[in-house]
Assembly symmetry: C2
DNA sequence: GTCTATATCGGGATAGAC
DNA sequence: GTCTATCCCGATATAGAC
């Protein structure tokens, strides 16, 4: 009532974000989103024609917020270790305040693989180019013939999983929110060290 | 009709497993499970009273099938690299056919963190004991003072994330189901190598 | 135990007043 | 643009014949 004019659509998106985050696509209820936004269901359909549309909007926003930077970082000309450090630092900063994003994306992938496909087309990601660059860089800097795909997957795993598994980690070790944030902070240096150590190790075997 | 007696309940569980795997709890349809089992909906409710019951049965079975082994592997007396190899091998085998398990666990964590707690209590996991053992083993075998928590988290990340992110990986690189299974197979040796290489790397810096 | 038919309800979507 | 009331389909669950 008070906060009109530029408010409603934003409020809906904000509410949808929260609900889709908590429940996923199938679990989310339009009613719950409406309640969260303090409006009624009909208005949701006025702004976004369907549940699917609304989901897509939220999903895209989250995805690009997360992945937008990653592409430019990995296509830059810096040493690999620096890239990984930069990626982790940026990524963990963004996520410590938006820890719902990676889970939301993973969940969305399972529930709506079709949406994922559309997004990748729009994002203009060329994974093969990335792999080639990574292969060359590893060979140049570490002199080893390693499958770049697995290295890439390792970097992603080590970055994303600890954020997604936050509730598991906190419950299992009885860690406070501050303790968890501290762990993420440590990982900004620990993970790049771990990876570069591993890459150095390949030299001797090759 | 032919394969009666010990058949129906098993067939239902098998079908439910497949469908819940593909769609998750909310996305799964009792009709689809019935079709998959080649029976009708009513029979599902005859054997299991509700959808929730059926899901719980499927989930518990798979969860303990998965985690039962993990504990014994990591508390055994073998060298660390062997433990990791064994863990990955077993884990990836089970999950390539039940990849919904980590997804469900994550989902449950976010929706009902309390449930997670109960599961851990039943599984009788002692994380601190595990950490101590890991710290000692790393020190014995690699002579380095490393924070075992991060190593543990790395092992988990490298094992679980590639399974959870299956749709992302397949879509991004346009990989077939066979191709994906091949990747998992490769990781059974790649990941232990990666980790032990990294651990060796710490020696020089310590 | 297994089937067909049906009850019941929840949720996405629309109509139409204001 | 925002609301109330309602449509309508689909999904879980049950009744009851065989």
């Amino acid at each position: 009532m008070v906060n009109t004019q530029q408010g409603t659509e934003e409020k809906i998106l904000e509410a949808a974000k929260k609900v889709f985050h908590r429940k996923g696509y199938e679990g989310a209820r339009m009613q719950e989103i409406a309640d969260e936004a303090e409006i009624n269901k009909a208005l949701l359909h006025y702004y976004f024609r369907s549940k699917e549309n609304l989901f897509e909007a939220v999903f895209k926003d989250a995805f690009f917020k997360l992945m937008g930077r990653a592409k430019t970082v990995f296509l830059s000309d810096k040493p690999l270790k620096e890239k990984i450090q930069e990626f982790l630092s940026h990524y963990l900063d963004v996520l410590s305040e938006n820890s719902y994003i990676p889970w939301f994306i993973l969940n969305g992938m399972y529930e709506r693989p079709d949406v994922l496909k559309v997004i990748f087309e729009k994002a203009e990601i060329n994974p093969l180019q990335l792999m080639e660059r990574l292969r060359n860089q590893i060979q140049d800097e570490y002199g080893s013939e390693v499958n770049p795909f697995h290295i890439w997957l390792n970097v992603l795993s080590l970055s994303i999983f600890p954020v997604v598994a936050k509730p598991l980690i906190r419950e299992l070790f009885q860690i406070t929110e501050e303790g968890y944030q501290q762990i993420l902070e440590q990982r900004k240096t620990e993970v790049p060290r771990f990876i570069t150590n591993a890459l150095k190790g390949y030299e001797e075997n090759s």
